[in-house]
């Protein structure tokens, strides 16, 4: 059994109605592991399901509503903090989908708050956030320098009262990456949501999603990101001339090959289907590598994508240096902080675990 079970349930919710109890258990564990349980719960809403599954899905919808409220409040707090700066504040990823009322945001897990601001505004944004109670998370000087020099964002900050993280981006991919999206164009073409917050234009939103999925990470959380892409394409695809605008925008940001692969994967897995190339199959294998207990499978494929993620971000010598330094901190074996794959949980007490 692979995560095809999950993909099928998302693509065609009615297909779950013949599932046996073993498959239901597998589906729930896989969806939790991929952080798609809230999405799945909304997709299955209204279907006639076994009562035990109905309860699990209702919980997941409640949890998604909580996560959404928290994310929107965090966005509002960033708005209040940056109010006086006269600089555009553009919401990215999950918070943007939720704030803009997009299908991709329905039931979605949302971790950190990601915002995009013009690069020249970074110092004033940093100061304003610190005045409003955010503080630095990292204190390792190498990490800090690495972020400031090479990354597409400030080192992460956390709010000291609310314990919520913010990632302040000035472009959507690391400066070391082989692609160089045009951040100025993205910021210039933003859409106002009203009340001082913005989101990217539909084309740029799709391309950011593609970049996040294929040009940036190691495909951790990729099932969720690919679902985002599918929803965005479905929602915007109906607008006249969207495909053409998307293609020319992809050319501007130098993301055409990524867009093409993203379209093939999204269509192949969640959409009407379509021809996959041989190289796409490796991505599909990575996406589906879960067994019926919810465990990760395909260790080699995962490792390959982990190395690839660094290859994409950095020139080889720099990569070697980075991996060397990071291996001392256990980053190769331990948990990496996924790009926004924050595990949304309540508040465990160690005292309760015995």
């Amino acid at each position: 059994m692979s995560a095809m079970l999950l993909v099928r349930a998302l693509r065609d919710p009615a297909s779950v109605q013949g599932l046996g109890s073993g498959e239901w258990n597998a589906l729930v564990s896989m969806a939790r592991a991929e952080q798609l349980i809230g999405t799945l719960a909304h997709r299955l809403n209204g279907l006639s399901l076994p009562p035990a599954i109905d309860r699990i899905m209702a919980d997941a919808r409640d949890q998604a509503a909580f996560v959404r409220r928290q994310a929107l409040w965090e966005a509002d707090r960033a708005r209040a903090a940056l109010n006086g700066l006269d600089t555009p504040v553009i919401l990215l990823k999950g918070t943007a989908y939720a704030a803009a009322g997009l299908k991709a945001g329905v039931g979605r897990s949302i971790g950190d708050l990601d915002i995009l601001v013009p690069r020249e505004a970074l110092p004033s944004v940093e100061t304003a956030l610190m005045d409003a109670g955010w503080e630095w998370v990292k204190s390792d000087p190498y990490d800090d320098l690495y972020y400031r020099r090479w990354m597409h964002e400030l080192p992460p900050m956390i709010h000291r009262e609310r314990d919520r993280m913010i990632d302040v981006h000035h472009t959507i991919l690391p400066l070391t990456a082989r692609q160089t999206p045009d951040a100025d164009a993205m910021i210039a073409d933003r859409l106002e949501l009203g009340g001082g917050l913005c989101v990217l234009s539909p084309e740029d939103m799709v391309l950011h999603c593609v970049a996040h999925l294929l040009a940036d990470g190691d495909l951790a959380g990729c099932s969720r990101n690919l679902w985002d892409l599918h929803c965005l394409l479905e929602e915007f695809g109906g607008e006249g001339g969207f495909e053409a605008r998307l293609e020319s925008r992809a050319a501007l940001h130098r993301l055409r090959p990524h867009l093409e692969r993203g379209l093939r994967l999204a269509n192949g897995l969640y959409g009407a289907g379509g021809a996959l190339r041989l190289s796409d199959r490796l991505y599909v294998r990575r996406l589906l590598s879960r067994n019926h207990w919810g465990q990760e499978t395909g260790k080699l494929t995962r490792l390959a994508f982990y190395i690839r993620s660094h290859w994409l971000r950095m020139p080889p010598l720099m990569l070697a240096r980075h991996l060397w330094i990071k291996s001392g901190a256990g980053a190769l074996t331990g948990q990496r902080r996924s790009q926004d794959g924050h595990v949304e949980i309540g508040a465990p007490k160690r005292a309760s675990i015995r």
Binding site: F66, R69, Q70, W73, D76, R77, A132, G133, E161
Partner: protein, 94 residues
Amino acid sequence: MAQPRFRAEDASHLVIKPLDDLSLIYHRRSGTTHVVASPVPEMLGVMGGDPLGVEEILERLSQRFELGNETESLIPVVAARLEELAALGLVERL
């Protein structure tokens, strides 16, 4: 510099439950529960939805309550509470 003005969070976003000396406020937009002492619930009550300066708030409080002290001396108290509430998003600094 002009006096800062504040507006309280809309009452429809707040659930207030007095318990004993303290009250609970559930803030719907943030999902946060605050345990508050006087004069916080009273301040939120008199502010309504109006944009107000510190002195105006104190004036409204003194119309409804016996404040004990000279109102002049209470200005820093009200200002401090407003800063505290603004940091929590229960009032917005305009």
